[in-house]
């Protein structure tokens, strides 16, 4: 077993899962903001 590679794999796991969550949280926030903006626009159009 190459312990150096296993240690790198653990680092990759940390960075990878962290990166996915950061990207997903930013997308989620963007969707919420877009939802507000486009929702408001729709409301004004309806008025």
């Amino acid at each position: 077993m190459n312990m150096a590679n296993v240690e790198i794999a653990l680092e990759i796991m940390g960075k990878g899962m962290g990166g996915i969550f950061v990207a997903i949280v930013v997308i989620m926030a963007a969707v919420m903001v877009l939802g507000k903006i486009t929702g408001n626009k729709k409301d004004k159009e309806e008025e």
Binding site: N5, L10, I12, G16, I24, L34, K42
Partner: protein, 382 residues
Amino acid sequence: MGFLLDGIMAVTWQKMIMYAIGIGLIWLAVKKEYEPSLLLPLGFGAILVNLPYSGVIDQMVQGKVPAAGIIEWLFKTGIEASEAMPILLFIGIGAMIDFGPLLSQPVLFLFGAAAQLGIFVAIIVACMLGFDLKDAASIGIIGAADGPTSILVSQVLKSNYMGPIAVAAYSYMALVPIIQPFAIRLVTTHKERCIHMDYNPKSVNRALRISFPIAVTMIVGMISPQSVALVGFLMFGNLLRECCVLNTLSQSAQNELANLITLLLGITISFSMRAEQFVNPATLMIMALGLVAFVFDTIGGVLFAKLVNVFLKLAGKKPVNPMIGGCGISAFPMSSRVVQKMAAKEEPGNIILMQAAGTNVSGQVASVIAGGLVISIVTQYL
């Protein structure tokens, strides 16, 4: 007349194993209907490329005259040179996806992220088994539960095991109805599986549906530039669908384009199923690691949902059914159907399909982001 026997004399036991594997894949595709659109071309291709002196791969006829082979050409042009085939397939996939259930409940995005855990667990286990980093990362991506992403990552990282990785990725996607219930039961109680969830979605207007693919492409492009090819083409396909002014193109992407590429992708990938590459103990290990990846994807998603429930309880809100966390993989819509079936089996009348579908769709976005991130992170260490 001895030349007529040259081919027969050149058959080795390794090639015989590949013929059996090819026939086995065709049987799974036809009899069991396991991902037939990929496993059938892959199985037939496995036979084609392993025939002695096969004309579908480059040969020196009689050791003198070079002859180009169509499958080798397809592989070098469509996959090796630019990863064109898997990337173009994403246009079709994007055009097929309805992000509505996810956009109406954006919090479901988080479960898709958590269910990528299996990728990284499989990378660690692969390293423990002695695979080098680029192969381990390519094997781990089986856990993305997304065939084109697996093929693309293994190609970009120049893995020696693209054939077994593609076979494992597509086989386990077909086996989701067996793998996921097992993994979910490992980490949930009957009481948790019976949790009911209210479904009160917000309306999703056209402007949001159109701006979503643009926003995702820009955000992911800035955070993980290596994901742009995957996410960009996925979102381009989705934009074709949602803009409502290119219905013909959207239909073509969903049908003709996706079918044509799927048809060619399977038989092209079979180039990496030549006996000298495929028949070795590593293939068996890759199949086992693929299973590890799928199981830990599911467990990761479910445990994350249970963690969310702890906070929901503290906030005095109703918990989520943790099974929906397991749907955060890319196998759409199979995973959400499996979880709904489990919920109904545990308690008749329990409907969590829309939440499961939203989570499942988030898994599609998260898996391509994971693919890009794995490429960019792993290449830093090579």
